[in-house]
């Protein structure tokens, strides 16, 4: 089943001054359960594309359907709620709230969904266990390594039970070991729970694990291939 459909998406920054054509008539479909990397040189439009997929920014032209909901038809308030219930985010620099512990960071997003205390406490502990941080749940981000913080971010992204998870350069600041651990965790979730992951990345280690690799350059998709060697 196709969970994301981009139809003729263009994104022009600063249309009134010095226009930047960051995306140019992009067409793309993402199916449930994908483990996909969007790659391309710096400035090619990866982040812009991810922002479109995540409803963080709206296209200048074209249509975005997520689970058959047209994002442009939503008010900005509805769009925030839509993100809360449908999309998980992992950012390059961890982006946890520094004043909350690992567990609280994961719980907080479920509180935003108005889940019961019993439910979010249980789920936060389960998820942190799953990303291998069962022992560190009461640590604040400053007491965790980059890799550990990024795993908390993955747990947070999963906590809301989103349709898919978007990760912009999640490994850019991680060493090899942390990168491998993180990728293993995400891969396992993808396989066992059919969770959809979409990455924007330069990182060859990520690309090697991706089942589908979409290459963009100058805002256009120039290659879209299935990596048959990956399970």
């Amino acid at each position: 089943m196709s969970i994301i459909q981009l139809k003729n998406i263009s994104k022009i920054y600063n249309p009134d001054t010095i226009p930047v054509y960051a995306l140019d008539k992009v067409n793309l479909e993402i199916q449930e359960g994908e483990f996909t990397a969007i790659v391309g040189p710096s400035g090619s439009g990866k982040t812009t594309l991810l922002n479109m997929l995540g409803g963080l920014d709206l296209p200048s032209e074209g249509k975005i359907l997520i689970n058959n909901t047209d994002l442009q038809s939503l008010s900005s308030k509805q769009l925030i709620d839509f993100r809360l219930y449908n999309i998980g985010f992992v950012f390059q620099d961890y982006s946890l709230l520094p004043v909350l512990t690992a567990k609280e960071n994961v719980e907080f997003i479920m509180q935003l969904q108005n889940r019961s205390k019993a439910e979010y406490e249980k789920r936060a502990i389960e998820l942190l266990d799953e990303v291998g941080l069962g022992e560190r749940i009461h640590n604040r981000p400053s007491k965790l390594s980059g890799g550990q913080q990024q795993r908390v971010a993955v747990a947070r992204a999963l906590a809301t039970k989103p349709k898919f998870i978007l990760a912009d350069e999640p490994t850019a600041n991680l060493d090899s070991k942390s990168t491998n651990d993180l990728l293993d965790i995400m891969k396992k979730m993808n396989k066992e729970s059919n969770i959809t992951f979409i990455f924007a990345t330069h990182d060859q280690r990520v690309i090697d694990k991706a089942r589908r690799v979409i290459t963009i350059d100058d805002g256009a998709i120039i290659k879209d291939e299935i990596n048959t060697s990956v399970a």
Binding site: T47, N51, G54, L56, D57, K77, I80, D81, R83, L84, Y85, F89, F91, S95, L97, P98, V99, L100, E104, E107, F108, I109, Q111, L112, Q113, R156, A157, T160
Partner: protein, 404 residues
């Protein structure tokens, strides 16, 4: 959790938060102490005026106080006294005969309001007997003793036992001169009152003005200031309509005016201090938001709605203001308690304040209700100063914030 995040955010930049918290605490303490002093001045003026001049309630015949015409006397004093004695809320009372006249000596003359009093009964309604600085309170001179103020004594260059002449009109409109001897010299904290007032025995004044048994005024003290209005109401319903029954506030409207004005000025004063502090708080919060642009962007991206982000900022601002407010109020309450007991010695500026009707030692004071209102004001200041930063946070766009 939002409130918890806000609370912890306050302590993220400890030094900066402490600076603004201390600014609020110090600003408030200064404000509260000043207000306490102003309030103490007004209260002390009021109390002194009640104790030495007006008492709590005064009864005259209607028309008497227009120009103190001695023919407007109380027609049935016994009936009035009977009504007063029945009322348990009335602590004490005294009758007076009053005449406006000239005091003359070889060195000059002075116009005064002469109060003919019963020296013993007068003690229960006024503290004038405690204000005698020279001579004695109606003791030592048998015939026609008079108590005059230090001001008047200096003006007329007289001393205790000096002889002076009173020139007045009697009840038939004839001019009368009578010799009196200074029995004592008093000094209250109000120089205006001192200049305008002198005391003799009621019987002497009645005899000289040919107005035997005539009373112009009954002066009353009640057990508690709160009882003034109800006692007046019940006296009015029990006594004839041709009587003017007034509270101290009506007798000296400027006293009530001063205490009202002081209250209003105090809130204006605190309002200005808090308004200035609001900008300090606002600045602190803008800095905090500026540092957290990225963090707020992430929160918006992951689905925290605008209302919750708004509240997160508002809470943080309120916490800052309330911590500062709490410290400020505790410090000032302790200082007020201490100063309220100890008093502030104003002898340096004593002369000026004596004219204003306040003693040498000032006791700053504030009511519990004042602190309550102050807490509300601090709270509104917090809300006021949170709105702009909170809207500023809402203006952030998740994409740009995350990029930034």
């Amino acid at each position: 959790m939002i409130a918890a995040i806000s609370w912890r955010n306050v302590w993220r930049t400890k030094l900066r938060s402490l600076v603004i918290i201390m600014a609020i605490a110090i600003g408030l303490t200064g404000g509260v102490l000043s207000v306490g002093v102003f309030n103490g001045l007004a209260e002390q003026k009021m109390r002194t005026a009640i104790d030495t001049q007006t008492a709590h309630i005064q009864i005259h015949k209607k028309g008497f106080t227009d120009d103190y015409d001695i023919h407007y006397f109380l027609e049935n004093p016994d009936k009035i006294v009977a009504a007063i004695e029945k009322d348990k809320r009335i602590k004490s009372f005294s009758t007076r005969t009053i005449s406006e006249l000239m005091i003359r000596t070889a060195n000059g003359s002075a116009g005064v309001q002469l109060l003919g009093i019963n020296p013993e009964a007068e003690k229960s309604i006024s503290t004038i007997w405690e204000s005698v600085v020279d001579g004695a309170y109606f003791e030592g001179i048998k015939r026609n003793p008079i108590l005059i103020s230090q001001k008047t004594a200096e003006k007329l260059k007289v001393k205790v036992k000096s002889k002076i002449i009173l020139s007045m009109l009697d009840g038939d409109g004839n001019a009368v001169d009578a010799g009196f001897r200074v029995v004592g010299i008093f000094k209250t904290s109000s120089s205006m009152f001192d200049e305008a007032t002198a005391f003799v025995r009621q019987g002497d004044l009645q005899r000289l003005t040919l107005m035997k048994g005539v009373n112009h005024e009954i002066t009353i003290k009640v057990t508690d200031l709160e009882e003034v209005s109800p006692v007046i109401a019940s006296l009015k319903s029990n006594l004839p309509d041709d009587l003017q029954i007034e509270s101290w506030k009506e007798v000296q409207p400027e006293l009530a005016y001063i205490s009202d004005m002081t209250g209003q000025m105090n809130f204006l004063f605190l309002g200005i201090i808090l308004f200035a502090l609001a900008f300090g708080i606002l600045n602190t919060m803008l800095m905090a938001i500026f540092e957290r642009i990225k963090e707020i962007g992430v929160l918006m991206a992951v689905g925290m709605n605008k209302f919750k982000i708004f509240m997160m900022i508002v809470f943080e601002t309120i916490f800052l203001a309330l911590i500062g407010g709490f410290i400020g109020i505790v410090i000032s309450a302790i200082l007020m308690l201490w100063l309220g007991n100890q008093g502030i010695n104003l002898s340096v500026v004593g002369e000026g304040l004596a004219a204003y009707g306040v003693g040498q030692i000032l006791y700053p004071q504030l009511s519990g209700a004042f602190y309550f209102q102050l807490i509300l004001m601090v709270f509104f200041t917090a809300i006021f100063s949170s709105i702009y930063p909170a809207f500023k946070a809402l203006k952030l766009k998740p994409v740009e914030a995350i990029h930034g």
